[in-house]
């Protein structure tokens, strides 16, 4: 451990260890909280894309669906907060935290919900500009990681927190590239695993296999994606669900290291490890 530098690969490496330590049972909690939001979002976008040009005529129905998706999104945010708490506790101690991650504090919960909803507004408001999407993805991860330990919620808190958290933009960029790359790879892998399963089912003369083969047929000219929007959206949701835990853990590790720097904990730990090494050598 060298406290003078903070490397992106060290953060990702520590994140994989953190995920392994918090997987039981907190990964399940995160996925349980995320599933309704992911399915509702898939359904919402499927409906909108299905309506195409006529989508504007079904405003009240679609707004109801959007509100329902947002409500499920709030549940997802609470699941994220529980998972982030578990990741932080795994960073601080090797002992099992018990049910402590579930004991959400009012300050951090309200602060996180406010920050995450603020990011959602920015994300959807500027979605059609496309270039802002990566920026809001980075903020989404940071919002979850910085929520832990927040004493109180104020209107300006998110801006102050992000200003401090953006101290190492290179690490944030590597985290984002990792998220996007891993999502794309998972998406393609899931797609091919599903196609393989359907091909196997077809070889066993399964009746529904023909329908599934039609649904999962590849896009003409680009074999890596399905032609239909529904399987594409479902695969994207599946890929996001698979990558989300490690992406959140990477953000937690980054913020944990950043806070350790601010308080001098990294130097204390380094000093302790040097003394321990000297004592064992003697």
């Amino acid at each position: 451990m060298n406290p003078t530098r903070l490397s992106a690969f060290e953060v990702l490496n520590d994140a994989t260890e953190t995920v392994a330590r918090t997987a039981t049972p907190w990964l399940g909690v995160l996925w349980l909280a995320s599933l309704p939001a992911h399915f509702l979002l898939v359904y919402f976008y499927y409906q909108v894309f299905g309506m195409g040009q006529k989508a504007g005529q079904y405003g009240s129905y679609l707004f109801g669906l959007a509100a329902l998706s947002m409500a499920a999104w709030v549940v997802l945010l609470l699941g994220r907060l529980v998972y982030v708490r578990a990741c932080f506790m795994a960073q601080q101690s090797t002992r099992s935290p018990g049910l402590e991650p579930l004991r959400l504090r009012s300050g951090e919960t309200l602060g996180f919900l406010y920050t995450a909803l603020l990011i959602e507004v920015g994300f959807h408001g500027l979605f059609l500009a496309f270039i802002f999407i990566p920026f809001f993805l980075v903020l989404g991860g940071l919002a979850a990681a910085t929520a832990y330990g927040q004493e109180k919620a104020t209107l300006l808190q998110p801006f102050k927190t992000f200003q401090r958290a953006a101290a190492y933009p290179r690490i944030l960029l590597v985290n984002l590239l990792f998220l996007c790359g891993a999502c794309a790879i998972t998406w393609v892998n899931l797609y091919y695993a599903l196609r393989l399963a359907v091909e196997l089912a077809a070889s066993l003369n399964s009746g529904d296999a023909v329908l599934w083969m039609h649904l999962l047929r590849p896009r003409p000219g680009f074999e890596l994606l399905p032609a239909e929007s529904l399987p594409s959206l479902l695969l994207l949701a599946g890929a996001t669900l698979a990558i989300e835990p490690i992406w959140l853990a990477a953000n937690v590790v980054y913020i944990h290291k950043l806070r350790a720097r601010d308080t001098g904990d990294d130097l204390r730990q380094w000093h302790r490890s040097i003394r321990h090494a000297q004592e064992t050598a003697v």
Partner: protein
């Protein structure tokens, strides 16, 4: 003061020499137990009480404002989600 402290042990760790005095409870504490807050030394217990009082005093009205803002943002986010997706569907 420093000489007087040297002869005392930390209130929490009897094996350690005292390095500071908590300005709230006046107990002598070691370096690790003392924390400076706004330039004044406090022991862990007094600091915790001090921070609790500050949080309770200042956070209530702000929390209500943040809660109201969050509810407004919830509906605004839903509306913007609908607006962006409908326009995206038109573009596609």
């Amino acid at each position: 003061m420093a000489q007087a402290l040297k002869s005392q042990a930390c209130a929490n760790h009897s094996e350690r020499a005292a390095r500071a005095v908590c300005m709230s409870c006046k107990k002598a504490v070691c370096q690790e137990c003392a924390t400076q807050w706004e330039g004044i030394n406090y022991c862990v217990h007094c600091l915790r009480n001090q921070r609790k009082q500050t949080t309770v005093r200042s956070s209530m009205p702000e929390a209500v404002v943040v809660l109201v803002a969050s509810v407004a943002l919830f509906f605004l986010a839903g509306y913007l989600m609908l607006w962006s997706s409908v326009n995206l569907a038109r573009m596609l």
